[in-house]
Amino acid sequence: MALAVDITALRDRVLTDLNAAHDYYSDTKIAWSIVGRAIAEGRTFSIRNMTTGTVTTHAELAGKSRGYVAEQLTEATFQQFITIFESFFVDLLRLWLITYPKSLGAKTVEFRRILDAPDKAAITLQVVNHELNEVMYERPAD
């Protein structure tokens, strides 16, 4: 029952994160659209980077904005979706393995770690985290 509650909470958190990422994508597209409309209606502006001194005019920004929306923004949002999914997947596996750790029964733990751990749950968590790190960060070829 606790696992079901934890998975539901995880699902809710991830859906919130996905919605926020999608809102950011939509809001940014809208903001660029408003900028484009303002320029088309004759508003002018310039932006000076106070670090580099580079000045960007409204005409230059309008030219760049299409690429920003069609490429960078879309790619960045897609990467964010992947990051959120990866995080969800690892957290789901962690919840599952902590609840059903017997699939890791063949793993060995240094005796020092057992002595340092306050209880069995802490040792289980260490083993689960270690396994997840290996799964997520080792090279595919390995």
Partner: protein
């Protein structure tokens, strides 16, 4: 403190979700930064200054989410 370009009172704005900020003409930026420094106020100046319709460039000083906007406003008001 008064905005040198609009002659209006410089205001600490609290709209948005990124914490209070001060929009200040670039010509006054160093003066405002010095005032904040003297009062131990932490801040971060936006990298870009924007000029709209040929008006003076405006820089944005971000005070951070934890900033005490009324206190900073008092500091600005006290420096006339």
């Amino acid at each position: 403190m008064t905005d040198a370009t609009t002659h209006q009172r410089l205001r600490v704005s609290t709209d948005g979700t990124a914490g209070p900020y001060i929009a200040v003409p670039v010509s006054q930026l160093e003066e405002v930064k010095a005032l904040l420094n003297r009062n131990g106020i932490r801040y971060l100046v936006d990298e870009n200054a924007i000029s709209l319709d040929g008006k003076p460039e405006i820089a944005v000083i971000n005070l951070g989410r934890g900033a005490n906007a009324p206190s900073v406003q008092n500091i600005l008001d006290g420096n006339r």
